[in-house]
Symmetry: C2
Subunit: 413 residues, 2 copies
Amino acid sequence: MKPDGFSFTIEKQFEKARAATYQTPHGVIKTPAFVVVGTQASIKALTPEQAKEAGLQLIFANTYHLYLRPGQEVLANHGGIHKFMHWDRPIMTDSGGFQVFSLGASIEHGVGKIANIFPAEEGGVLKTSARVGSGKSLVEINNEGVSFRSHIDGSKHIFNAEKSIAIQRDIGADMILAFDECTSPLHDKAYTKKSAEITHRWAERSLKYFNQNGPKHGYEQILYGIIQGGAFEDIRTESAQVIASMGFDAIAIGGNLGKTLDDMYQILDWTMPHLPESKPRHLLGIGDVPSIFEGVERGVDTFDCVSPTRNARNGGLLKRFDDDGKRTNKFRINIKNARFTNDTRPIDEDCGCYTCQHYSRGYLRHLFKAKEIQGQTLASIHNIYFMEKLFKDIRQSIHDGNFAELKQEWLGE
Amino acid sequence: MKPDGFSFTIEKQFEKARAATYQTPHGVIKTPAFVVVGTQASIKALTPEQAKEAGLQLIFANTYHLYLRPGQEVLANHGGIHKFMHWDRPIMTDSGGFQVFSLGASIEHGVGKIANIFPAEEGGVLKTSARVGSGKSLVEINNEGVSFRSHIDGSKHIFNAEKSIAIQRDIGADMILAFDECTSPLHDKAYTKKSAEITHRWAERSLKYFNQNGPKHGYEQILYGIIQGGAFEDIRTESAQVIASMGFDAIAIGGNLGKTLDDMYQILDWTMPHLPESKPRHLLGIGDVPSIFEGVERGVDTFDCVSPTRNARNGGLLKRFDDDGKRTNKFRINIKNARFTNDTRPIDEDCGCYTCQHYSRGYLRHLFKAKEIQGQTLASIHNIYFMEKLFKDIRQSIHDGNFAELKQEWLGE
């Protein structure tokens, strides 16, 4: 498998689900895997050592944010993002295309990637200083690219395929993304079709620029093509076929994933059959437990999402069962709840994370009520550990041939 | 030395400066030592492991804050503050008396402990939701104790000597403080004299209650008497004599320490000769480099102050020399300065801390500009390491007989 330093070896399949070893220039990822978002080249509230101790394999940073601050030349001058942020494991960057959505249609329409499930306020869209749903798009899109205003200082900037790849060469993540437009669930079919065609042209230009302009920091990068097409079967199918045919070494499924989780599963069903078996597949921006099982079942290898760590910073701690043995709502508890005030038990008595080994619910609640930063750190550690353990169990179940049982245990009635 | 589990062994003196081993139920402190403030039972932005790795020996928590939130019964129920916060090294708590000052005279007068050097906004006074200098005291003081309103919810509370010690028994710090009133540099002599007399009565009551009501968590605590008296020689001298005569096992120097650093040194000169050689001495609320040298020279063993960690969280990184070899202003740099944007060097190339080993000034500036929590963590680690290294060098210089040279090197023109 090209490029040098990369390989993707499927070790075991359970129907369409795959357990693989994904070699990168910054180490091995065991897939299926979760990618924690570190938007601004920081795993929020954690040192890299803390994230590693929680089991984290790889992270996801944002080209748009890093381009605006600290700027690509600072990243380049530091020898790339790994050295800049002291994270020596694999890193993925998006192309900036999602921010086109986030600052554009998402603001106009007030929606996230899946309209009815993740409102834009709750993890569907990256937080910007612009008000979501305020109706005024901050971007203009045409065939050439995108012009937008910085959410930091209002300055005007232009992104296009070549510029996105050039910035991602400077940033130096292992896995980088072609430039795309991420449409909104509220865009109509005509807009979505036109947008997918633009995304395909940008994909070609991204690939061409990528092939003609090598890496900057002494190791290769892998370029993901991105499939768009919204929730329209014919556009999704065509986009999957077009992107799969272009010679990308890896594929990401992006954009508007419908209005419900069922829509998203349907979109995956339309998309996945067109993807080459041998190439890694990433599902962009999805990280809830049901979607992870449904995605893995359909052959997704990696997932990124802000929600486990963002929820952590708001006191939402991932936990499968409540103390009475019932499944928790959305697989989490709110540690700020008064019932935890004098609770000396850990979040989860069966959890092996640093936080559960050393701290009580009462202490964690105190930290959140007292607005102590350490609360966000300890909660993030727990939620990352939870996700890593979930994926470890998923990988094991694929190896053991009982993925279907594991899924049923987690999601069944 | 009583109580059980405590000993204070002076190993070497250089004139009045002492290098000692201070044994407590939660381990040994090498003195002179710095006590980092962890107001709400959290070393802000750090896990205990990170603080230990930076060399931190002991911390200081606040009775007033912990009494209001999470409440003494939560601390008691968790088996004391060490278990509650997962810190197994020594802890000190104040008596609540400083908050009497902080919420009372400090708000009325808009000043800190040393009026002209540390304005109340900058570390002289603990941050509360009440506006400093707003002129309206939140407390009422009489012979019996203090009534005050919570800065959290406005609820009314009463503190007195017995209650302060009872709360500190529940909290379970190793070193606890007698209840006192900390006067303001702007209080007149008559007020200061009357206040010192009240503090002496409260000291007696604190000691009596302490002796009659043993520890709650299976290990002894040591009670510090607090000397007050403002910047008036006769009142300070009398307070030192009265407190020293009462049979406390350790002594703290508290309260209003004048209007300039020179005033404070003068106050120490009046006070220290009256203190028993064999007992540990703590200087409350002071942590700037010049004061540390002057305090150690006069026989102070331990110092606590919010400033090293509070400055860290605001981007003020401790550093002795600038890159041109000149002494930095107040021994710190502001990492948010634009000149650090593309600076790949560590804060201090000679520093052995985790932050300086792994991160550049450019990255740290980025974290602060991007408001990433990790910046506060990395800066706190550096500043704690800086303080610990400074104290280690001070201890070594006492052992080696060259404390005067070290002081001259740091403070001389």
